[in-house]
Amino acid sequence: MFSALFRILKFSSQDFWRNFWLSTATVVVLVLTLVSINFLITLNFLTKTAVAEVENKIDVSIYFKQGIAESEIGNIKSYLLSLSEVKDVIYISPEEALREFEKKHANDAIIKESLEEVGENPLGATLVIRAHDTADYPEILEVFDDTQYANIIQEKNFEDHEAVIKKIDSISEKATTTGFGIAGLFAVIAVLIGFNTVRMTIYTHREEIGVMKLVGAANWFVRAPYVASGIFYGIFAILFTIILIFPAIGFAEPYLAGFFGGSEFNLLGYFSNNFLQIFGWQFVGVVFLNMVTSTLAVGRYLKV
């Protein structure tokens, strides 16, 4: 048993090194296939980051009437924070709101004059709400439709943002669907390329397979070294892909981070944190593909 296993591994490694250029060509095609898949993973990450970045900039403000007690607004804030859909709620006092307003319109003489004429702070407090998902805003803000709030709320700007939010939700959904579609297409192309590469490799060995059969080798003994070679191709392909991907990400990351305006962007971190999930599945996939292809391709030439 161990002797047979040892011989299979010996034949397989001999075949790998003695057909060095053929093995190299096979591994290179598999590496290119895996790099394409990782490029797609990167694109998917960038799309999600871009959508999340835009979504993060969206918030909804509730403007309260003047004179509403801070404690009452505090209760509303606490309630909002207790909702699982709410990410954050910021309280802006009337004084802060006025300061911001003045700062924003510092160069507008008419507004400045108007404020001086009124004499007192005309602004009420504000609650700025941020949801985890833009689709949750209508549900969060439903509570303010209640009549008890009608007397204390001056205005809520959700209606202003509603169209934008809906648009972003739609873009996000389309990006995800398109991403899945392209990923599926790439996966099919990758499988076909990998399948054909291994098949071509075995095609070049067809006469050898025939000779092995003629000198009395059993089917499994002929097949096993080629299947083992398929596993070797997979191991080398995934190793070279990892060796290529990380420096490439390291090189591209500063440029991409600049594009996203220095926000929370960590592609290298994404690949590192999900290393096993990303490369583990690719390894399983490429090895499984090579094993199945080798088994099927060798089978064609075993009928001697």
């Binding site: 002797s3 047979a4 011989r7 001999q14 075949d15 003695r18 057909n19 006469e207 050898e208 025939g210 000779v211 092995m212 059969k213 003629l214 000198v215 009395g216 080798a217 059993a218 089917n219 003994f221 001697v304």
Partner: protein
């Protein structure tokens, strides 16, 4: 020992390669099978190694009906019949030693025994010194001797040589013929398929002549009659 009884082989759609072949080959015999190209000589050999199955008839080797052989039994059959071919059929990416050793490795012979037997057989065919070379690094005659060494490694009772001198010059042809005679002297049944008139006539052994898939002549000490 080997018997072909009423053998017929038809390739689809209707190409008759062999028709009503009846032939008995005794243990230890040296038989040349001759005939022009396309007369069914190689088909006869393919039937013997279970590479092909007859359309009709029965082939037995020491009472083993190989026309009903299961796929899983074919490797066992082939380990009992040594075969050499015109194009040598060596594994190009294996050394001479590894080519010969491979025939033992496929049936699970231990590494220690392989290291003992292979040099012995290579010595018999005069290639011990070239064991580490690859097939393309030696001459055609030497490649055929490697093939003979590989065929002999299991000490088979039958050695089938399908046009073994087809790619060789006259000196190498003579050497291979002498080697086959020597192997036969040790008791191995040798079946030589050839259309080399000079070679067959020089052997002065049994000659079976095929024409259009049928046996037209079978002489104990025959000559190439076509």
């Amino acid at each position: 020992m080997i018997e072909f009884r009423g053998i017929e082989k038809i390739y689809p759609p209707s190409i008759t390669a062999l028709q009503d072949v009846n032939l008995k080959i005794n243990a230890g015999e040296f038989v040349s099978i001759v005939g022009q190209s396309g007369t069914g000589k190689t088909t006869l050999i393919k039937l013997l190694t279970a590479e092909e199955r007859p359309t009709r008839g029965k082939i037995t080797i020491s009472d083993w009906d190989i026309t009903k052989i299961r796929r899983s039994e074919i490797p066992t059959l082939r380990r009992q019949i040594g075969v050499i071919f015109q194009d040598f059929k060596l594994l190009p990416k294996k050394t001479i030693f590894e080519n010969v050793a491979f025939a033992l490795e496929v049936c699970g012979t231990s590494s220690g025994r392989i290291k003992t037997i292979v040099p012995q057989v290579l010595r018999i065919v005069g290639l011990e010194e070239k064991a580490d070379r690859y097939p393309k690094q030696v001459s055609g005659g030497e490649q055929q001797r490697v093939a003979i060494a590989r065929a002999l490694i299991h000490r088979p009772k039958i050695l089938v040589a399908d046009e073994p001198t087809g790619n060789l010059d006259s000196i190498n042809t003579r050497e291979i013929a002498d080697l086959l005679l020597k192997i036969n002297e040790f008791g191995t049944t040798v079946i030589l398929v050839s259309h080399n008139r000079e070679l067959v006539n020089s052997l002065r052994r049994r000659v079976v002549t095929l024409e259009q898939g049928a046996v037209i002549s079978d002489q104990e000490v025959g000559k190439y009659v076509l």
